[in-house]
């Protein structure tokens, strides 16, 4: 009889998951899966509610990136009511989104992923965590904690609530930005930009160079990619743009978010609550076969870095050039998600500064007039974990009639399963495994930051 290994819970990730590895009689991997353990059903809860209330409710889908749901939802409601936010309202929303990306990346890279690299993937599980990092590298840790605090405080001060925000409203934003706030935010963002440049340097010297072999092997699979790019010039964008769906060979199609139903489908397996999106428009169906996957694409940092033609800000562009020179386009190695995450961190800081320097940012005209009506709206943006889609239909009273959501993380469920299987198959042989090996299997998941 074979044997089943359970890794539960998968730790230092942001969701509820378990990995099951099925071993055959001789102790080799027959199959390995990641099961998502939870379902809440927000699509259903929001039915019948006045659409303008929904952006506050859907935050609770995810406390790690509530800003993304808040804003995608606001975009969708704008669409239903056929309203275009005022230019300042639009830019304030983008500003908050990009700022939230900064915090998220600091949290993920340093609090969740770094222990594997700073302390090593084989280090003892009892110290392999952020507290261990605090002990091993106290100065770095203090700095990181400060930066995360700065980022959260910036959101808190300006927008009231960093977790489960309330500040964006249908048609724009709830309040204008004062000049004093702008100046303060600008100063703080400069500090964060300096830190993000340091972070990339630190990681290049201490992580990516040191673990190059792990990076080029662990969890590596070959897939397509989905992200958002500038409508005009194909530059990297996270708040607004067109969607780009790239095949593993680098060819791509661009489409508008509102047409997502023509390009994406979702597959369900009996063993996971997580649905698995796939590229329906490739007309090849869905398969997670390692040597011949079908319909599989990835989202999140590496995907965005792969699909864009260039970064829209200078320092991030420099980093991208170096990255592409080393790993090509599209880069496939799963652990490069971490590298891409730090390039995005730089972009997010630079973009925040650009937005704060935009002349209209302190205008008081933050909100367009809104009239509830029947309609459909699709709100799309790049959440840290991937392209987020909120699709609502409203009735004549402006209440939600139906809703469909594709949450960022889910794009990567198929690929994560493949990476888990790849890693487990490569690492577990003849029934031999230890705690370090199982942690490496988890690292294949952690890179995707689910």
């Amino acid at each position: 009889m074979g044997k089943i290994l359970n890794i539960q819970p998968v730790t230092r990730i942001e969701g509820h998951a378990r990995i099951t590895v099925h071993l055959d009689e001789s102790g080799n991997v027959e199959d390995a899966r990641m099961n998502l353990m939870s379902l809440r059903g927000f699509e259903k809860f929001i039915e019948g509610r006045p659409a303008e209330e929904v952006p506050r409710i859907v935050n609770r889908i995810c406390g790690i990136c509530p800003w993304m749901h808040h804003l995608a939802s606001n975009k969708a409601v704008d669409g239903c009511f056929d309203v275009t936010p005022t230019p300042t309202g639009h830019k304030l929303r983008e500003l908050l989104q990009v700022m939230a990306h900064i915090n998220d990346k600091i949290l993920h890279f340093f609090f969740l992923a770094a222990p594997d690299f700073v302390l090593g993937p084989d280090s003892d599980y009892s110290v392999r965590n952020v507290i261990g990092v605090v002990k091993a590298a106290p100065e770095l840790a203090t700095q990181v904690v400060k930066m995360r605090q700065l980022g959260q405080m910036m959101l808190d001060r300006f927008a009231g609530k960093a977790i489960h925000p309330i500040a964006a409203v249908t048609g724009g934003f709830s309040k204008p930005m004062r000049e004093a706030e702008r100046v303060e935010l600008l100063k703080d963002t400069q500090t964060l930009l300096d830190f993000s440049l340091f972070a990339l340097d630190f990681a290049k010297n201490n992580v990516f160079s040191k673990y190059l072999d792990v990076i080029s092997e662990l969890g590596v699979i070959k897939t397509g990619f989905l992200g958002t790019v500038d409508r005009a010039d194909g530059s990297f964008r996270i708040y607004d743009g067109k969607q780009r769906l790239m095949k593993a060979d680098g060819s791509y199609v661009d489409f508008e978010g509102v047409d997502y139903l023509d390009y994406l489908g979702e597959h369900v397996e009996s063993w996971s609550y997580g649905k698995m999106p796939y590229a329906k428009s490739w007309n090849e169906g869905f398969s997670m076969d390692l040597s011949e996957p079908k319909g599989i694409y990835r989202a999140n940092t590496l995907a965005r870095i792969n699909v864009c033609d260039q970064m829209a800000t200078p320092k991030a562009q420099e980093a991208l050039e170096e990255f592409r020179a080393a790993f090509g386009r599209p880069a496939q190695a799963t652990l490069l998600y971490h590298y891409a995450r730090l390039i995005e961190l730089i972009y997010a800081c630079e973009r925040t500064i650009e937005l704060l320097n935009w002349e209209g940012i302190t205008d008081t005209d933050v909100r367009a007039k809104v009239t509830p009506q029947a309609g459909r709206g699709v709100g799309v943006l790049e959440a840290p974990r991937g392209t987020l889609i909120h699709d609502y239909t409203t009735d004549a009273n402006g209440c939600i009639e139906s809703a469909n959501l594709i949450v960022g993380t889910t794009h990567n469920i198929g690929p994560m399963n493949m990476s888990v299987k790849q890693a487990a198959t490569a690492l577990i042989k003849d029934g031999v495994y230890d705690q370090g090996i199982l942690n490496k299997v988890e690292m294949a998941v952690r890179a995707y930051d689910p």
Partner: protein
């Protein structure tokens, strides 16, 4: 030195993860907490997969699956003090709206009816089955301390941890959100209920005075009132105040409609009826708790059925 540290386990049940992020966001204070606390099981931060014995156990989220139930029971067994942390843990939270929809309805919608889903499969293998209801954790295990909030503000988190570490009573008040709100309650002349789409209310005055529903007076302050202080009415995400919970005939809608009627020219019954019609919103966070669900005045299922009946007619 290290054996003097207070040992802490945390776990998340069915939730959004925000409460755990709020814990991490004690920021510099987390470094201070780490001086006296040893964090053991804490899925977001550590790789400790089992549940070592601990003095303090923090549980976030509500009970939705067998897996959640099991985790709650093990935590109770291993921890001396259990804190129900966050509105989900204390009251069931937003997905307590599961109460208004059956599990079958939700599964059917998500896995069969959604326009993107191309398969006809409902997950039923290797996943922990969804319970019929969303349950606050104190209906499954005994709870020692309650810290609602969605998520609770770090101010309260730190105070509760500090008091436990120092072995004293936490210094927290039972005030409502109004206590921290800078808006002034005045008698206004609003004649009808308005909403955020109609106008941007004057930031100096209470929402109620201007004819906007705000749940601040019925909501316990565990957040420092960020919403009304940033232009948005309170929707009660920290759950009801003690008065509302303990007084059988007092309820979120009776409290708010009474107060709003005094502050405007709108009839109390009109406000009450409006709040019943929008019950899914007004009771969004605390629906699943028996403390609300068993009140003689609480008929949420009927109110929702009434509204949906009208829509279908």
């Amino acid at each position: 030195m290290s054996d003097e540290k207070i040992r802490l386990n945390t776990d998340w049940l069915c939730d959004c993860g925000g409460c755990h992020v709020a814990l991490v966001d004690l920021h510099e204070k987390i470094l201070q907490v780490l001086d006296s606390v040893e964090i053991q099981h804490c899925p977001v931060l550590t790789d400790v997969k089992d549940y070592p014995p601990a003095r303090i156990g923090i549980l976030t989220g509500s009970v939705r699956t067998e897996h959640d139930r099991h985790a709650a029971l093990v935590m109770r067994e291993k921890c001396e003090i259990i804190i129900a942390f966050g509105t989900c843990a204390v009251y069931g939270g937003l997905h307590g709206a599961g109460l208004a929809h059956s599990r079958e309805e939700i599964m059917e919608h998500v896995y069969r009816r959604s326009p993107t889903t191309k398969t006809d499969t409902i997950p039923d293998a290797e996943v922990s089955e969804l319970a019929k209801m969303v349950t606050p954790i104190d209906e499954v295990i005994d709870v020692d301390l309650y810290l609602p909030g969605c998520p609770p503000h770090p101010h309260f988190i730190f105070e509760s941890l500090a008091s436990l570490i120092e072995g004293r009573e936490p210094r927290v008040t039972q005030d409502s959100v109004c206590g921290r709100c800078k808006r002034q309650m005045i008698k206004g002349d609003a004649r009808e209920i308005r909403n955020t789409l109609d106008e941007v209310p004057d930031e100096r005055f209470c929402f109620l005075s201007q004819g906007h529903i705000c749940l601040g007076s019925a909501t316990l302050d565990r957040c420092l009132a960020p919403c009304p202080n940033h232009g948005i009415a309170c929707t009660g995400c920290a759950g009801p105040t003690m008065q509302i919970l303990t007084e059988p005939y007092l309820d979120i809608r009776t409290e708010v409609s009474d107060r709003m009627a005094r502050l405007t020219a709108i009839d109390e019954d009109i406000i009450k009826t409006y709040m019943e019609k929008t019950a899914k919103t007004q009771y969004a966070y605390a629906m699943a708790t028996k403390m609300i669900g068993n009140k003689p005045t609480f008929l949420i299922k009927k109110w929702i059925a009434d509204v949906e009946g009208q829509i279908n007619e």
